[in-house]
Subunit: 415 residues, 4 copies
C-alpha cells in the first residue's frame, strides 16, 4: 500500500501547479468578469470565447500540458487514470481551467469513446480535431420527457434504414452545445427497442449542422447559462446520416456508455474535490479577514468545527475516488461499479455542503457573483443529478453490498 | 391552549385562498415566463412590471384583501400578527403574490416603521402612497465593506448639520430598489458613533432621486436578479436633506429596527413556510407522475421518508413561528427575542432542505427555470443570511438559554 | 389561537412543580444510587421498590396530585389531554417521577383501556386498585419471533372455547412485569386469524399468577434492567381463563389499541420532552462548570450552537405534541393519525440527539452512571422502536400526505 | 499509488481470517453468554476469564498469530503499521478477539511504550510477560476532577524525592484494571508543574499491588462493566516506588504519550471499522430475514439507502485511517497530527451511526443483549470521548488547516 502518486504523476502535477499559479489563478477573476460582460444580454447564438483562452491553450500545449487525461502516450500524456486523477483535481479549482489543457468534459469522455470504439475514419474526422482542441463536442443522452435515471425509459431512436441511420428524438442537458466550436454530438438512442435491455441502444456521431438538428433553447442551472458552453435542449428530427456515423454496431451503446462512465466519473469527482478545496480556501480567507464581535468570524461559533469537518470530508472523498480509480485500473470497470457509484454520491454532496458553508461565511457576497461560490454550488447541485441521480447510485452500492450475502437486488433503485 | 385561528383570521384566509386559486395560481407560470421575457437582456434601468400585476392589485383591493399585514383597522385589515400569519403563509406560495395584496417586503416593514414612528408629514408623504400601493420603498442597512452581522460594524453616517442631515455611506442588498415605482429608502446610519452601542444609530427617509444617491449595480442571488425588484448596491454620497427626514431623533435607529424586526420575521418565516408547502407539493406531484424501474419515483428508495420528514419539519416550523407571533403579542418583542431568532434559523433552513429534495426529484428540470424551485432555493439561501445570519441568531438563542441559569453570555456570537 | 395553558392546567402545573422541587428533585440522586444498590446483583425475583416511593405516593395523593392523566373528574383530575400534557412533561425530568403521581406507563394506558372499554366487574377488579396505585399492570403486544411493526404478523392467540378463553403465545418487552406489585397483563392476540386485518385481534386481562404464565427472562436496554420495573419476555402456555377476561368482544383488539395509542403517545412524547429539558440543563451546567484551554467548555467550538439547536428542537417538538393533543381532542384520534405518528418520530429522535450531546460534554462521566444520561439515552433509543418504529410512523405520515393529492398509499411502510 | 496490502500483510490476513472463522466466530455467541453468566452478580473482585480464552491464546501463538502489532520482527510479527492495520480491522469484529492474538488495548500501547522507551530492567520485568500474554496492564491518564481534554489540567503528581518517586492522584477510566491478570499501570503525572507545558509530565510504572494503590470502583459504560476487563476509578495515595520506576526521565511524559498515540489510534480506528463491518452485516442479515408488509424489511423505506451510505462511510473511514498510518510511517507522527485527529473523529462517529441503524432494524432485540449491538454502541460512544473528545480533535484538524494560510490557531479547542 502506498499513497504517494507516481514520480511521473508528481512531475506533471508540479508543472501543472506552476502553470496554474502563473497563468490561471490570476486570470480567474478577470475571466469571470469579462466572460460575463462578453456574453451578457446575448442570446446563445452570439456567445463568444474569451480571447485569452486560445492563448492559454497554446501556452499549455507548448508546455506539454495537453490531453493529460488520455492514457495513450502518443496522443495524450500516457498517464494512467490514477496518475491523472490529481491533475484533474488541480484543474477543478477554476471553472475554465480544464479547457486550457484540453481536458474538459464532455470532450474528454467523447475522445475516449472515439479512441476506444471509433473507426479509423471516425477518428480522423472527429478525434483528431478534438485532440487539437480545434473543435468541441457534446454528449446527448438525457431526455426531457422521461425519468432518465432508468435507461430503459429512453425514447430516442437510431433507426437503421439500408446504409443510412435515422436519428430521432429530443435530448436535453447537452452540455457545451452553445460553444462556437461545438461541431458534433455523440447521440444515444434505441437501435432495437425489443432487444435485451443492455442490447437496445446504439451511439451515433451527429454533426451539429446536419439537417434536422435544432437547438431549441439553452437551460439555466440555478439561473446560470454557463456561456460560452451552455446546456442545450436539442431536437433531432429524423436526421439522416450515412451508416458509418454509427459507433461500433447497433446494440453497442450501453457497453460503450459503461466504458465511458468509469473514468469520466473519476474525472468529475476529482474536479469536484478541487472545487471543494477552493471553496474551503475561500471560506478560511474570508472568515479570517472579517471581524465581528471583536474576533475574526472564523473563530465564532462552530466555524472552526466546520473547517475541520470540511477537511475530513474532502480527504475522505479524495481517497475514495483514488481508490475507485485504482480499482478500475486493477480489476476493470465492472468490478468497480460500487466504488464508481459511491464517489458519484460522495463527491458532489461533499462539495455542495462545503460550498454552502463558504457561502454562509461570505454573507451577502456569497450568494452574488462577487465570488465563484454560486457557480460551484450550481456545479455540485447539478452533479447530484447528472449521470444518474444520487438515488440510483446508492441503489447500485446497496445492490453490490447485498450480493455479498447472496441477496438478489432489484435493478436500479433502492426500493 | 387553542390551535385554531380566530374566526376573523379564518374568514380572511378563506377569501384569500379563493382569490389566489382563481387569480394567482393559474397566472403563476404565465408570470414567470412573461416576466423573464419582459425583463430579459435588459439592464435594470429598463425593468418593467408585468401589466397584469396592477390589475390584480386593483382586484385584490376591491375584494378587501389589501394591507392585510397592518394591525390598524382603518388603514389596514386590523388583524393581529397571529391572525395575519396564516395569510402570509398563503401568499408565500407564489413569488409575486404578496405584492398583489400590498403585503410585500420590504414595504410592509417600512410601512410599519412609518406607522409607528413617522411624523405626520412623513406619513402623509410616504405612508399614504405606500398604503395605496402607488410607490415602493427600500431598506438600506447592510454594508458591503464590513461583517454586518455585528451592528457595531456599521460605517454609514447620518450627520446632523444645523437643520440638515447629511447621509453618507454605501449599502447593498437594498431589495426592491430596481422597481420602477421605488421612491424612497429608509437608511440606517450612525448619528453619533461615540454613543452607547444601542444609541448610535438613526434612520432617515431618503428620496431615491435625491442628489448623491446612486445605484451602483444590481446584485444577483444565485444568478437571479429578481426583476423588476432587484437587490441594489447603492452609494449615498453626502446626500443633504432637511432635518425632518430623520425618523424620530438621532440615536433612535436601533430601537426602531428592533421594533421593525419582530413582526417582519414572522412575515418572512410564514412566507417561507408557504414556499415549503409549495415545494413539497411539487415534489409529490412530480414524484408520483414519473416512473422508473416500474414504479413512480416517489416510491423508490427513501423518497417517502423524505415526504414524511418534510411534513414534520414544515409543521414544526409553522408552530414555532405562530408561537413566536403569539409571544410577541402577549409579552412584547423583547420577551420573544429567543423565539424570533429561533424561527429565523428554523424556517429558512427547513425551506432550503425541502427545496433541495424537490429539486432532486425533478432531475434536470429541477435546476432549470422550468419550475420555481431554484427561485425558492435562492430565497431560502438568502434568508439564511439576510437580517442576521443563522450564526447570530443561534447565538441569541443560546444567550437567552444560558441566562436562565444566570450565566452571562457574550453578545451576538455563539463563541 | 392561544398558546397559554388553561388556568386549571397552570394551577396544577404550579403545584406539581412545587412538589417536584421539594420532594422529587433532591431525592433523585439518592434514588438512583440506592435503587441500584437495593437491586444490584439480584435476580428480578428479588427486586424491591425503594421504600421512599410509597411515602411519596401518599404525599402526592394527599396533595391532590394523583391520577392526573385521567380526564374523568371523579376518578382522576378531570384534565383534558391538552391540559395534562405540560404535567407529563414535568414528570419526564425524573425516571421514577410519574409513578409518584400514579401516572406511569403502561398503567396509564391500561387504566384508560379499562376505563373506556372494561366491564364493570373488570373495572372493579383491576381499575380500582390501579387507580389506587396498589397494583401495577403490563401490556403484552410485541412478540420476539416476528417483525411486530406489522400488526398482521402477530401470532399469539386468544382462542374462545365455550365459556373460556385460551391465551397462548410468547411476548416480550412487557414493561413493568418485574415490579413486585405487577398483577395483571393486558394481552393482545388473534381471536380470529381469518377475519379482516383489523378485526382479527382481541384483548384479554391475564392475571400474572394464572397457571401457564411464565416470565422467561428480563431484557436489558443498553445493559440496564430498569429494576424494579423491568422488561420481560413472557410465555403464555395455553392459559385458560373465564370468558369474562376478554375486554369487549373478539375482534375488538385493534380498535381498543388505536384508542389507547393516541393519548399514550402524547404522554410518552411529553415525558421525552421533559427528559430533553433535563439533558439540556445538565449539558449547560456541566459545560459552564468545567474549564479547558482557559474557558468554560460550553464556550468552546460549536457547543453554544448545540445549545441553541437543542432549544429550537425541544420547543418545536413540544409544540407539535401539543398540537397533536389538540387535534385529538378537537377532531378525534383518526383525524390526528399523521400528527400522532409525527411526534412519535420527532420527540424520541430529538431526545436521543440532545442526550448524546449532553453525554459528550460530560466526557467519561457521561457514559457512566454518575449522571442519569445513559438512562435517558436508553429511554430515547427504545422509544424509537417501541409502539411502532420510526419507519412505520414516517410511512403513516407520508401516507396521509399523499392522500391529500388523491395518491393511494401502501399500508404501513414507506416503500 | 497502490491500494493493495503488501504480500506479507495479505498472507497474515488470510491466516488470521481462517483462524477467526474457525475458532472465534463460532465461539462469539457462546462467549458473550457464558462470560455474562460467569461474571454476573459478581463484584469485580470475583471476575474471572472464560477458560476458553487461554486455550485460544495458546492456539493463536502456535499458529504464529501473536503480537502482530509489534513492528519488531523478533519480539512481534515485524509488520509495519500499515501492514498491521487490516489485521486490526479483522480483530475488531469480535469484542474479545484482539486478546486472543495478544493485540488488545491498552496492552499494545503499553508494550510499545516499554519497547521504545523502557530501560532493560523495565523491559525484563514488564515487557517480557506482557509479550507472553501472561499479565495485563493499564494506562492511567484521565482524571475525574478536571476536563482531561486539556492536558494542562492534569493534577496527578509524580514527585521525585531522592531515589524514590511518590505517585499521587486519582485517575479513572483505567481500562482493564479489573482483569485478574492486571499487574501494572503506566501512570502519567506532573513531575514539574512549573515547567513548559510539554515538559511537565512524567510516566511511571506502578505495580498494582503497591501500597497506596486502591481501585475505588468500576465504571459502567452505558450500564456495561465489561467484565473481566472493566474501567476503574483508582486512587494513588502517595505511592512510594524506587526511582527506576520512572520511564525515561522527568518531563518526558508528553513526548512518550505522543509517540504512543499515533499507532494506538490507528489500531483503535481499524478495530472500529471492523466493528462497523460487523454491524452492517448484522443489519443486512436481520433486514433480509424478517418480513413486514409483504417484504423483507431491508427493502422498506430508506433502508437500502442506509446500507449504501454505511458502505460509503465505512470505506471512506478505512481509507482515511490507512492514509494516516501511511503518513505516520512515511513522515512521522508529527507530520500526521491532523490525519490522526481526523480518524479519531471519523471512525467512532461512523461506527455509532451504523450501529444505531443496525439497532433500529433489529427492533427490540437491538437494544437487548441478544445481539452484540449495544456493546458496539457503547464502544463507539466511549471512543468519541476517550483519548481526547471529538471537539479537541476537530480543533487540531482546524489548527493544521489554518496554519496552511499562516493563520495562527489557538491551542486545543475550536474556539
Amino acid at each position: 500500500m502506498d499513497f504517494a502518486p507516481s514520480a511521473r504523476s508528481q512531475e506533471y502535477l508540479q508543472r501543472l501547479h506552476a502553470f496554474i499559479d502563473r497563468h490561471v489563478a490570476p486570470f480567474d477573476p478577470v475571466y469571470r468578469r469579462e466572460n460575463a460582460e462578453l456574453n451578457a444580454g446575448a442570446d446563445w447564438r452570439g456567445w463568444r470565447v474569451h480571447p485569452r483562452i486560445a492563448e492559454l491553450k497554446a501556452l499549455a500545449r507548448e508546455a506539454g500540458l495537453w490531453n493529460l487525461f488520455l492514457p495513450d502516450a502518443e496522443l495524450g500524456a500516457g498517464l494512467s487514470l490514477l496518475e491523472y486523477a490529481p491533475l484533474a483535481e488541480a484543474m477543478g479549482r477554476y471553472e475554465f481551467c480544464a479547457e486550457i489543457f484540453n481536458c474538459n468534459a464532455p470532450d474528454t469522455g467523447n475522445m475516449e469513446v472515439l479512441y476506444h470504439y471509433g473507426s479509423e475514419p471516425q477518428k480522423a474526422r472527429w478525434l483528431r480535431p478534438l485532440l487539437d482542441g480545434a473543435i468541441r463536442s457534446v454528449f446527448c443522452m438525457t431526455e426531457p420527457e422521461v425519468a432518465s435515471s432508468d435507461a430503459t425509459n429512453m425514447r430516442a431512436q437510431i433507426r437503421i434504414e439500408g446504409d443510412e441511420i435515422v436519428v430521432d428524438g429530443r435530448k436535453w442537458w447537452s452540455t457545451g452545445i452553445g460553444h462556437p466550436d461545438a461541431r458534433v454530438a455523440i447521440f444515444m438512442g434505441l437501435t432495437d427497442a425489443d432487444a435485451a435491455p443492455h442490447a437496445r441502444h446504439g451511439m451515433a456521431l451527429v454533426p451539429l449542422d446536419a439537417p434536422g438538428v435544432r437547438i431549441e433553447r439553452m437551460l439555466p442551472t440555478f439561473g446560470e447559462y454557463d456561456p460560452p458552453y451552455g446546456h442545450g435542449e436539442v431536437s433531432f428530427d429524423n436526421v439522416r446520416l450515412p451508416l458509418d456515423h454509427l459507433i461500433q454496431g447497433p446494440g453497442q451503446g450501453f457497453a460503450i456508455a459503461q466504458g465511458r462512465l468509469g473514468p469520466g466519473r473519476i474525472h468529475h469527482c476529482m474536479r469536484a474535490i478541487g472545487a471543494a478545496e477552493r471553496a474551503l480556501e475561500l471560506l478560511i480567507r474570508r472568515g479570517a479577514g472579517r471581524e465581528a464581535f471583536g474576533q475574526p468570524i472564523l473563530r465564532l461559533g462552530g466555524n472552526l468545527e466546520r473547517v475541520a469537518q470540511a477537511r475530513m470530508a474532502i480527504d475522505q472523498a479524495r481517497l475514495l475516488t483514488l481508490y475507485a480509480a485504482w480499482k478500475i485500473e486493477r480489476f476493470g470497470v465492472k468490478q468497480a461499479m460500487s466504488e464508481i457509484s459511491a464517489i458519484k454520491v460522495v463527491a458532489p454532496n461533499m462539495l455542495q455542503e462545503i460550498v454552502d458553508q463558504a457561502i454562509q461565511i461570505h454573507g451577502g457576497a456569497g450568494v452574488s457573483h462577487d465570488t465563484p461560490l454560486t457557480g460551484l454550488f450550481a456545479l455540485a447541485r447539478a452533479l447530484r443529478i447528472a449521470d444518474g441521480p444520487d438515488e440510483v447510485h446508492r441503489a447500485m452500492v446497496a445492490r453490490v453490498e447485498l450480493a455479498k450475502y447472496g441477496i438478489g437486488g432489484k435493478r436500479g433503485a433502492a426500493a
